[in-house]
């Protein structure tokens, strides 16, 4: 048998496209959609894959990263899936991509107008750790009642001196919706604010799609006396020397040896001597 272009049948694509358009019109709001079972397991990026499959066309150039890298096994697997089912050109260069599907990172290079970044999202509900009931969290979003989250954040700061959420730190979108940025490090959160590229988010298992249009305000939750303060490992990249990129910590021996290299492999390769 032959599968459809980009795997999904046209009726499924239409359903997802309708959800994406509503997500764009209501920035940060999670739109429920009839996510389908995909040939990859839930948790492997089925939401991102369904979003990408619904937007991708023959003239697109696709980049897929996981943990910032193009060569991680799941990124390789997803890139191969689209090369096979959509016959689409792929790249590892951020600048050349029209669509970037990502898990857990935003590239270091500033994304450009016209580019689309698709995030794979495990838990789209930013309130889920405080209120696991979907019926309840849906009400809180309807009322824009985010006091629960403010209280949690404040307690963290009172106890630890800083926010305890180093990744997946919640953001307010366009001053209205509290949103999960997906499990990106807090270091990447500022890149979301007024990003020139369109940001789409797909959560397959939880069956939600959401979006942030270009140039939209995305503020990491914080307090005036404790402004949002993401951290990175205080080292230069051992390969390219970058002091402003997010770093992977590599264990080099069993006696405490460590080295730090860029998590964004494309960024590092472009800079490396």
């Amino acid at each position: 048998m032959t599968y459809s272009y980009a795997f999904l049948d046209e009726a499924t694509k239409r359903m997802i496209r309708r959800a994406i358009l509503k997500a764009v019109a209501i920035p940060g709001h999670q739109v429920p959609f009839g996510a389908r079972e995909m040939p990859l397991p839930y948790g492997w990026g089925t939401g991102g894959i369904q979003v990408t499959a619904s937007i991708i066309g023959r003239s697109d150039v696709l980049k897929v990263i996981d943990q910032g890298a193009d060569d991680t096994t799941n990124a390789v697997s997803i890139r191969r899936f689209f090369a096979r089912t959509a016959g689409v050109a792929t790249t590892t260069h951020t600048a050349e991509a029209s669509i970037i599907q990502t898990r857990h990172r935003i590239p270091e290079r500033v994304l450009q107008p016209g580019q689309i970044i698709v995030y794979q999202v495990p838990m789209p509900e930013p309130l889920s750790r405080l209120e696991p009931r979907v019926v309840e969290s849906t009400k809180l979003h309807a009322l824009a009642d985010y006091g629960l989250m403010q209280v949690r954040l404040y307690e963290d700061i009172a106890r630890h001196g800083r926010s305890a959420s180093a990744y997946n730190h919640p953001v307010m979108v366009n001053g209205r919706y509290l949103m999960s940025p997906s499990p990106i490090p807090a270091f990447d959160n500022p890149k979301m604010d007024r990003m020139p590229a369109l940001q789409l988010f797909g959560a397959g298992r939880e069956k939600r799609i959401y979006a942030v249009p270009p140039y939209t305000s995305v503020k990491s939750l914080d307090f005036e006396d404790h402004p949002f303060d993401p951290i990175r490992a205080p080292h230069p990249c051992a390969i390219c020397g970058a002091t402003d990129s997010y770093l992977d910590e590599i264990v080099t021996d069993d006696v405490g040896g460590r080295m730090f290299v860029c998590s964004d492999t494309d960024h590092c390769e472009e800079r490396a001597p």
Binding site: F7, T72, H160, R205
Partner: protein, 356 residues
């Protein structure tokens, strides 16, 4: 000089080759055929059809073979295939009252019209390993065939109780509104009973078994009796729009459980019995019975019962009983998370530094 690990593509294809070799096992032994799986591991095939939400024995058997006997993986394979199929329409409601029965038992009456029909059951086997099965042998002689005591399908136990006014009538369905379709629209709560039953019908057998068991141990007890368990073949009928009348497109094997549960009554309702319902593809009484217990537990709010037990918690049960979703999210933890872990590391280091 550190060089990051490359060659993900090669590693993946090597892993796939190893998987294929491991699946085949010792090549000196004959390969297992899909037909053998379908004929001789029938209950595995049945479970995969149920949780894979696709009534196709051949495909389910293929999935069992491909998954090396990992039945959740097999259900996932079947689901992922099923979702690509074009949708031609819905069937008419199945008439399980007219099933051609292989098995039918009731725990509520010693004897009843239609009798107790044991069928191919493990119930009274002594669980002693049959070492004769370890040696290839002759096919067993055919089981003796019995004529049914009475022609035609036997009455349902719940109908017998209803004659006496002791069985609560099921709430009238709305025939004009098509039932919700979990495979097309995302689950939302509060869910109708039709939607709840869809979720439970393809829910994980083990999860439902544990929940059903918990009601028996007092976490939302609903005083269950097996009114009837029946297993057999039911006709599937569809009405093609161009014909305008029903045609029979084939039979499927089903297991149905109608649990009869006590209900104390309320200001407006006299004491009577209520029903918990389970229906599952193939032969799987454990699943059908567990489903009936959980269905009845989830009706607690509707019947004005105290809630609070896990099996009575609709969101908790419905959002967590799908094993394809659950296994994906649990197992995804083995994917690389080093970016997030790194940010946790630096955060913990910073917090410790601030304390000192």
């Amino acid at each position: 000089m550190y060089v990051s690990v490359k060659g993900g593509e090669q590693a993946i294809s090597n892993a796939h080759a190893w998987l294929a070799e491991a699946r085949r096992g010792d090549a000196a032994l004959p390969e297992l055929s899909v037909e053998q799986v379908e004929q001789q591991l029938t209950l595995a095939v049945d479970r995969v059809m149920a949780e894979g939400a696709c009534a196709d024995r051949g495909l389910a058997a293929l999935a069992v073979k491909q998954s090396r006997g990992d039945l959740i993986e097999a259900a996932f394979l079947l689901r992922a295939y099923r979702t690509t199929l074009p949708r031609f329409g819905g069937s008419l409601p199945l008439d399980t009252g007219a099933m051609r029965l292989q098995r039918r038992i009731s725990a509520t009456y010693k004897d009843l019209p239609g009798g107790q029909l044991l069928g191919p059951t493990f119930d009274y086997t002594h669980r002693l390993l049959e070492f004769s099965l370890a040696a290839a042998g002759e096919a067993p002689p055919p089981a003796p065939e019995m004529e049914p005591e009475e022609p035609g399908p036997p009455p349902r136990v719940t109908a017998l109780l209803a004659q006496e006014g002791l069985m609560a009538a099921e709430p009238e369905g709305d025939d004009d509104t098509p039932p919700p379709d979990l495979t097309r629209d995302p689950l939302s709560c509060p869910a109708s009973r039709a939607l709840r039953l869809q979720v439970l019908a393809r829910g994980d057998e083990g999860f439902l078994l544990g929940l059903g068991y918990s009601t028996q141990r007092g976490y939302g007890n609903n005083h269950p009796f097996v009114g009837e368990v029946r297993m057999g073949e039911a006709s599937v009928e569809v009405v093609p729009p161009e014909l305008g009348f029903a045609i029979d497109i084939g039979d499927i094997t089903l297991t149905e459980c109608q649990m009869v549960n006590q209900f104390k009554g309320s200001l407006t309702e006299p004491p009577q019995f209520t029903r918990g319902y389970g229906l599952v593809f193939g032969h799987n009484e454990r699943k059908a019975m567990a489903m009936a217990l959980v269905d009845r537990a989830l009706r607690g709010a509707e019947l004005g019962e105290d809630g609070g037990a896990p099996a009575q918690d609709e969101e908790f049960v419905l959002y967590h009983c799908d094993n394809v979703e659950a296994t994906g999210f649990v197992e995804h933890l083995k994917l690389p998370h080093h970016v997030d872990f790194q940010s946790e590391l630096e955060n913990v280091r910073a917090m410790r530094a601030a304390q000192q």
